[in-house]
Amino acid sequence: MELISKRFADTAVLCPQGRIDHATAEGFKAALAPSLSACGAGRDRLVIDMTGVEYISSVGLRVLMLASKQAKAQGAPLAVCGLQPVVREIFEISRFNLVMQVFPTLREALASLSTEALAAFEAA
């Protein structure tokens, strides 16, 4: 899976597309890996912008959980934003909204993680 990647100051924003399911979850995991390696305390923060994701299965949610655990272990905050209505319902039913930082918009996610990233976003 190819991720569109953006940067706002100290925050990397990754934008997966389409369906994240049994067929694509491994590719999603591999595509996240370089950005996860780069994040950490005093280094990058991470936002996964799900605006382009129309469906995510339990396997895809597991990839998000592992990413969140790795980022946390490295001292970096990780947030998710831009859930489409169906994906938002899947997050709620699976209770992922309770264990991950989820924001309606990219702007709100950036505002939560970094003032520098928010300023860069506003200036862009």
């Binding site: 597991r62 169906v86 319902e89 039913i93 699976s94 992922f96």
Partner: protein
């Protein structure tokens, strides 16, 4: 075939508290105000037809025990949790004390799945026959230790029925009591085994106490094949998905979300949420059922899966 649920609660039996009973009564009485329910018939129709299930019923509190009833022959059961006590008493009350044959398929030997056997009255009566099947090498030992000091006052040797223990090999087909039966090893502490039971073109999969880590595509495929085209999948949905893969990882249970996905992939006809979390009250389980039906609806392709939540006393006709 009828599938009858005698015990549906996970981990430990639970009882409704007086506060919960009172809350149901208050809700029902307020709903009935001004309805003129002045006969038992009118009241019964109101309770059965208009009240929410979580107000008029309870999902119940006995631990795992399910009966597959093809309408003739021997009793075929899965697990001997505390629900087996109710089943045993029902058999004696409706069919008399002797001459019964029971075939029991054991998922595993944790307390909540065997604790009904010391209170399973047919096992104490001569003339009955209990055959217990399982894949664990300590199958018989677990039952004998439970029915012995210091755990229980009546020793296993006092059970006067003919009791046999039969070891099964997983991934092998057996013909037992008119069913074609296959066991499959599952992720759970000390292992558990799911059973695929087929008879007269109907397929029931009993898959409880099974954690689906989903980190191995081949293993996912193997479970999908095990569930393939089942008329009913009885599925451990004790945890939320988030809990199952975070704070409760490796605790050996699964979620409603994984149950829906597996049944969709396998094109199973019905999914029954089972082994309910003991801290959940009736409202919480009812909400879980509604959410699971919604999940099935928004993720449905060309195949619909009918969603149920097991409760003590539920019967599903296949």
């Amino acid at each position: 075939m009828l599938v009858r649920f005698w015990g549906t609660r996970g981990s430990i039996p639970v009882a409704m508290t007086s506060a919960e009973v009172k809350r149901k009564l208050v809700t029902a009485l307020v709903a009935a105000a001004g309805r003129g329910l002045d006969t038992p018939g009118k009241a019964r129709a109101f309770v059965e037809g208009e009240l929410e299930f979580s107000v008029s019923h309870t999902f119940g509190g006995n631990s795992s025990c399910v009966q597959l009833d093809p309408g003739d022959g021997d009793y075929v059961l899965c697990d001997l949790g505390s629900g087996a006590r109710v089943l045993g008493n029902n058999v004696l009350a409706t069919r008399g004390p002797r001459g019964h044959r029971f075939h029991v398929f054991m998922s595993h030997l944790h307390w909540d799945h065997i604790m009904g056997f010391p209170f399973f009255m047919p096992a104490y009566l001569p003339g009955n026959h209990v055959r217990i099947y399982g894949c664990h090498d300590v199958l018989e030992e677990a039952f004998r230790r439970q029915n012995a000091a210091p755990c229980f006052p009546v020793d296993f040797s006092r059970m006067a029925a003919t009791i046999e223990f039969v070891r099964l090999e997983p991934e092998r087909d057996y013909d037992i009591a008119g069913f074609r039966v296959r066991a499959k090893r599952q992720h759970h502490g000390g292992d558990s085994y799911g059973y695929r039971l087929e008879r007269a073109g109907k397929v029931v999969v009993y898959s409880t106490d099974s954690e689906h880590k989903q980190d191995d595509p081949e293993e996912v495929e193997a479970f999908v094949a095990f569930f393939r085209d089942a008329d009913l999948v009885i599925f451990d949905a004790q945890y939320s998905l988030a809990d199952a893969i975070s704070v409760k990882e490796d605790w050996g249970h699964s979620s409603n979300v994984v149950g829906v996905e597996m049944c969709q992939l396998a094109r199973a006809r019905r999914l029954c949420l089972y082994h309910h979390e003991p801290i959940f009250d009736d409202e919480r389980i009812a909400a879980l059922l509604a959410e699971t039906r919604r999940l099935e609806e928004i993720t449905r392709g060309d195949h619909r899966v009918e969603i149920h939540a097991a409760y003590d006393g539920l019967e599903i006709a296949l």
